[in-house]
């Protein structure tokens, strides 16, 4: 541009002008507006309402005999439900909690002692541990054994040996009555 004075909307001296104020105010409004406009795009990638609607899973516990375990799907993940035997409950309680890698008493992990409900995803790198079927290896502590990297979980789903850093997660759930639970 040949005439450079024309290019500058500012006053010749470097004082702040009414124009500076208008420029900053307009830019601020535009920036806030753009941020509001961006939100629908970002939020649309969150779980949709039909996805959230199936985020709660109901389970009927009555067919599960003592010593049996079932796997249900909750939010696309396997959830282990084990009807624990008296021996398993005792084994889970009879542990020096302080010496566990992830210290947690059994009572903090169950609503009712005979029912253990945990997310069946190894806390190491996300494999599904073995131990649900009677023929599965259950690991050294009578719970679950992850074949990927050799983590051993006990009958409370707590990590006892191997690379996993934490116990199997307990999902939020509640008993609707004696034989029905709702996960989620």
């Amino acid at each position: 541009m040949a005439d450079s004075t024309l290019a500058s909307p500012h006053a010749a001296d470097d004082e702040e002008t009414r124009r500076d104020f208008l420029l900053i105010a307009t830019s601020t409004v535009a920036a806030v507006g753009t941020a509001f406009a961006a939100w629908p795009f970002i939020d649309s990638l969150n779980p949709a309402r039909d996805t959230l609607a199936v985020a709660i899973t109901g389970v009927d516990l009555s067919p599960i005999a003592v010593g049996q375990a079932i796997t249900v799907i909750w939010q696309g993940k396997p959830v282990f439900i084990r009807h624990r035997t008296a021996a398993e409950i005792t084994a889970a309680r009879d542990v020096n909690v302080d010496q566990l890698p992830d210290p947690q008493p059994d009572s903090a992990r169950v609503e009712k002692p005979e029912w253990l409900v945990v997310v069946g995803v190894c806390t190491h790198l996300g494999c599904i541990p073995l131990g649900q079927r009677p023929t599965d290896a259950k690991g050294d502590y009578g719970g679950w054994f992850c074949p990927c990297h050799g983590s051993h979980y006990d009958s409370s789903g707590r990590i006892r040996k191997g690379p996993a850093p934490a116990n199997l997660a307990v999902p939020p759930y509640r008993f609707l009555d004696d034989n029905r639970i709702e996960i989620g």
Binding site: M1, A2, D3, W39
Partner: protein, 421 residues
């Protein structure tokens, strides 16, 4: 362009190796723009912004859409009901298509009125025509995706146009469909192309801008820039004006999105596609209506060419004739302001295009048939007869000596500084 010295050392380092900042300074800030551009010059930048909005909403919509005949309709309904703000994104995209055509048609009529297609801007204009064609293809395929009744039958009718081609027509249609009817393979490829074409559009828009910044902007007087006194820098003057225009445009656009989102649409498209039943009255989207009217205007054979083929040729010719406009109009004067006859014929042409749109929206019966034929005849006569003839018989008014002389009324050489303050 001159390499500028940048104060910020990081910007200076990057710019020395990749002069993007110099280019931005050159094309978005310093770009010398005629000082007399009116609001009709806003529509180019608006079209660019609408393209960006369409790509942004389209990419997000594609994340929720399923291109399968069994799921497409339901996935669009899921977007409307279940996806967070899905209704907003879809209505922005749907109405954005209409806005895109409104803005581009106005942009084209502006070019037509002010002679923006004449030397040295012929190629600039032609790239614009190619952009229009790419837009039309994109819009057509996008309309098929929701897999409603209008989607399906629109796809069927438009692809069947190609069956008019002698000898190989049927083979081409089968190839377009990927089967023996519009079906899942068709929907799949339309989705792929609907996603691809906007990016080609973006590249074409870039070429359009390179050509524009090479030959520089035309202006309402249609005379060449004669010196720095005729121009002002793009920033801040036209950035501010474009932003103001954008604000006004967004109010118009969002009024439809929020208060009349289905204004431009057809209720039949909320009925799932049924290959066994044609809706009683098929109409294309409004932006295709003038061309649809031209297609249907040809109801007679000429020599050995059947009416069906002639109609298709006429419809495509209606767009392609624009490519030859720079050579059909021989007048040395660009702006209609100084062309007393052309100025009136131009408005007749605008009215003719609107009339063709109205005709295209009615069933081809009764008075609409001869009316469509007359409007089609005028459409082509405007380009092929009136334009070349006017070049010779019209006496243009005298042109001002320069832009600054016309704008300031004081003649060349006035201090640009004095006017700006």
């Amino acid at each position: 362009m001159d390499a500028k010295t940048w104060k910020n050392p990081i910007i200076a380092w990057v710019d020395k190796r990749l002069p993007i900042f110099t280019m931005m300074q050159h094309d978005l800030v310093d770009y010398p723009t005629p000082r007399n551009l009116n609001y009709w010059w806003n529509f180019g930048s608006l079209a660019g912004i609408v393209l960006v909005i369409m790509i942004a909403t389209g990419v997000v919509l594609a994340m929720h859409y399923t291109p399968h005949t069994q799921h497409a309709f339901e996935s669009v309904e899921r977007i409307m009901r279940d996806v967070n703000y899905g209704w907003l994104l879809r209505y922005l995209h749907m109405n954005g298509a209409s806005m895109f055509f409104i803005v581009v048609y106005i942009h084209m009529f502006r070019g037509l009125y002010y002679g923006s297609y004449k030397a040295p801007r012929e190629l600039l204009w032609q790239i614009g025509v190619i952009i229009l064609l790419a837009m039309m293809a994109t819009a057509f395929m996008g309309y098929v995706l929701p897999w409603g009744q209008m989607s399906y039958w629109g796809a069927k009718v438009i692809t069947n146009l190609f069956s008019a081609i002698p000898l190989v027509g049927d083979a081409i249609v089968t190839w377009l469909w990927g089967g023996f009817a519009v079906d899942n393979p068709t929907l799949n490829r339309f989705f792929a192309l609907h996603y691809l074409l906007p990016f080609l559009l973006f590249a074409l828009v870039f070429l359009h801008l390179v050509a524009l910044h090479t030959s520089k902007s035309n202006n309402p007087l249609g005379i060449d820039v004669k010196g720095p006194q005729d121009t002002i820098p793009f920033t801040p003057y036209y950035t501010v004006k474009d932003m103001f225009g954008l604000g006004a445009f967004l109010i118009f656009y969002l009024a439809f999105v929020f208060f009349a989102p289905n204004f431009f649409g057809e209720p039949d498209n909320y009925i799932k596609a049924n290959p066994m039943q044609t809706p009683p009255h098929i109409v294309p989207e409004w932006y295709f209506l003038p061309f649809y009217a031209i297609l249907r205007a040809i109801t007679f054979d000429i020599l050995f060419i059947p009416a069906k083929l002639l109609g298709v040729i006429a419809m495509f010719a209606a767009v392609l004739v624009l490519l030859f406009l720079p050579w059909l109009d021989r007048s040395a004067v660009r702006s209609a302001r100084f062309r007393p006859i052309y100025k009136q014929v131009f408005w007749l042409f605008v009215a003719d295009c609107i009339l063709l749109g109205v005709v295209g929206g009615h069933p081809p019966e009764g008075v609409w048939v001869p009316l469509g034929q007359a409007a089609t005849a005028f459409y082509f006569a405007f380009f092929l007869v009136i334009m070349p003839l006017l070049s010779f018989i019209e006496r243009p008014r005298p042109l001002p000596s320069s832009i600054s002389a016309a704008v300031t009324g004081k003649g060349v050489g006035i201090s640009a500084h004095g006017v700006a303050e």
